[in-house]
Amino acid sequence: MARSVQVKTPSTFTEYKILLGKDLRREFRTKEMLTSMGIYSILVLVVYGAALSQSSQGVDVLQMSGGLLWALIVFTSLLGLNRSFEHEKENGCLDGLLLVPMDRSVIFLAKATSNLLFMLVVEVIAVPLYFFFFLTGAPVSDSWPLLVWPLIVGTIGMAGIGTLLSTITVNTRGKDVMLAVLFIPLIFPLLYACVSAATVVLVGGDWQTTYLTSLALAGGYDVIMLLLSWVLYGYVISA
Amino acid sequence: MDPILEQIYATILPSAPYVIAAYALMWGALLVYVIYATVRMKKVESQIAVLQNTLDKATSTKTNSDFAAQTQEVQDESESIKKK
């Protein structure tokens, strides 16, 4: 029987745009992820405040800033990643996506990009706030704007690995704890490199060599892990 | 003991407990795993025994064959739901 509808399978890039558009429109309408992550990061800063304000002047906050910043980013993104797949599972929308004749790794790419964007937006809010709260008096070296690069490279890695793991943990019991249990050990090397890059840029001195090696290592981690996630994603989502 | 000799051996005594502890813990971990493996094996063997005597009991009281008959019945029944 003649088909009343002509169908031309769209290119992968169009599928990617459609799925990304869906996530962004949905977030733009509900703003559920951004508000929860934004507020959560401010709460973490409050906890830092309690921790650091009591310390004597001897404690050099600047030295710890790289680490504290990344701790804030890791835990905030954990919260966001957990919720990223919740609404997909609500009405079985994931089955709906699986029914569409397309390469399923596109779902990974679209979801990783949307997570990345949300995490970057939250960082744009949280990092300046961190400077405002803790580094007003500190002798921050003038190379601090270079902090942007480790932030970007690190967030890309976390978004990629996080999306893959959240696809796994959304179907397990104890979802959010499970994501943290799997995510943090896996992301440790990236974290280690990014913290070192961030610290050395904030503290100053001859930061070039350390900064560049750490950034290169973090970049290498991203490439390997994102490729691996892209390849393995098909097995995870259709399990 | 001449002082130099003393220095040469200076590290041996204090480090002894750590070396002993290291090896003890290593062999201990292996031992725990071996015990775990035997416990699992014993569990399987006991289940085999339990299954064994249910099987022997079963063959004597023919519960198995009732099941076969029941499913056979279902098979012929599927023909009978059609119009005679």
Binding site: T213 | I4, P14, Y18, Y33, L51
Partner: protein
């Protein structure tokens, strides 16, 4: 067991042992497994003994003088704690090898979806966890004496701590998923990622220049022959033990699976 009905294929799954009246037909690998296990035990005990007898102590810090011991001129402290090395390295290599074997089975599972590979991967990871714990113990004791403090974020120790957390995460994940097919796929994917992540962690913790920890590549070159003998004994001993344990666990778990299948058919 009576054939239940005509179109019900009663044939047991072909791979592995076909259980006939409780006596499993042993494949050759399972026959030699106990032999290898015993051989491994002997070798490691031999390595243990040799490590403390024929292996010369490693020279520690310089001493301000020379002393004659036996027929040798000795000018350094004798580092006794180095004796842990003879088991630390073999155990470390075995743990990583076991993880590699697990990763291989996981890839095989993803390609074939045959649950037997998933079982093998699960058990290989179990063996790997045992050896990672052993590495942590020995590494901890060695660091404790050498650095004088219970924990340092030293690259080697940190890498193995992360490896242990990842392997524990593997088992936590397996426990949290009920559907066998999902559990196998998720565990396999996580196992493969772990296997790739560990060398990266190994590299990054060393290459990232950090003032606190000098990046030491413990090459341990210059092992004299007397040192090599106990090391090799311990090495092969540990490898054989790990293989023997793996096969033993595999036989047990396969029998367990057969039992579950039998109980399943009996319930119907």
């Amino acid at each position: 067991m009576a054939q239940t009905n005509k179109n019900r294929r009663g044939q047991m799954p072909s791979r592995g042992q076909t259980a006939s009246r409780g006596q499993t037909a042993l494949s050759t690998a399972d026959k030699i497994a106990p032999v290898i296990l015993v051989l491994g035990a002997i070798l490691s005990v031999l390595g243990f003994v040799l490590a403390f007898t024929i292996a010369p102590p490693v020279n520690g810090a310089r001493v301000d003088g020379i002393a004659i011991i036996g027929d040798q001129m000795v000018g350094n402290q004798m580092l006794f704690s180095q004796k842990i090395f003879y088991f630390h390295m073999p155990v470390a290599i075995t743990s990583f090898l076991a993880l590699g074997v697990a990763a291989f089975y996981e890839i095989r599972y993803l390609m074939t979806k045959d649950s037997d590979y998933d079982l093998k991967a699960h058990l290989a990871t179990e063996v790997s966890l045992v050896f990672v714990v052993m590495v942590m113990f020995s590494g901890e004791m060695w660091e404790r004496f050498e650095w004088g403090v219970w924990w340092t974020w030293d690259p080697r120790l940190t890498t193995y701590f992360i490896l242990m957390l990842l392997v524990i995460g593997y088992f936590v994940l397996r426990a949290a998923v009920d559907d066998p097919e999902k559990r196998a796929s998720y565990a396999s994917v996580f196992g493969i990622i772990t296997f790739i992540d560990v060398p990266i962690c190994f590299m990054i913790t060393r290459l990232v220049p950090s003032s606190v920890h000098p990046t030491i590549f413990r090459t341990d070159s210059g092992l004299s022959t007397e040192m090599m003998i106990p090391l090799m004994c311990a090495m092969f001993g540990m490898l054989f033990i790990s293989y023997g344990l793996f096969r033993w666990r595999l036989r047990t778990e396969r029998a367990q699976e057969e039992l579950d299948r039998m109980k399943q058919t009996l319930d119907e």
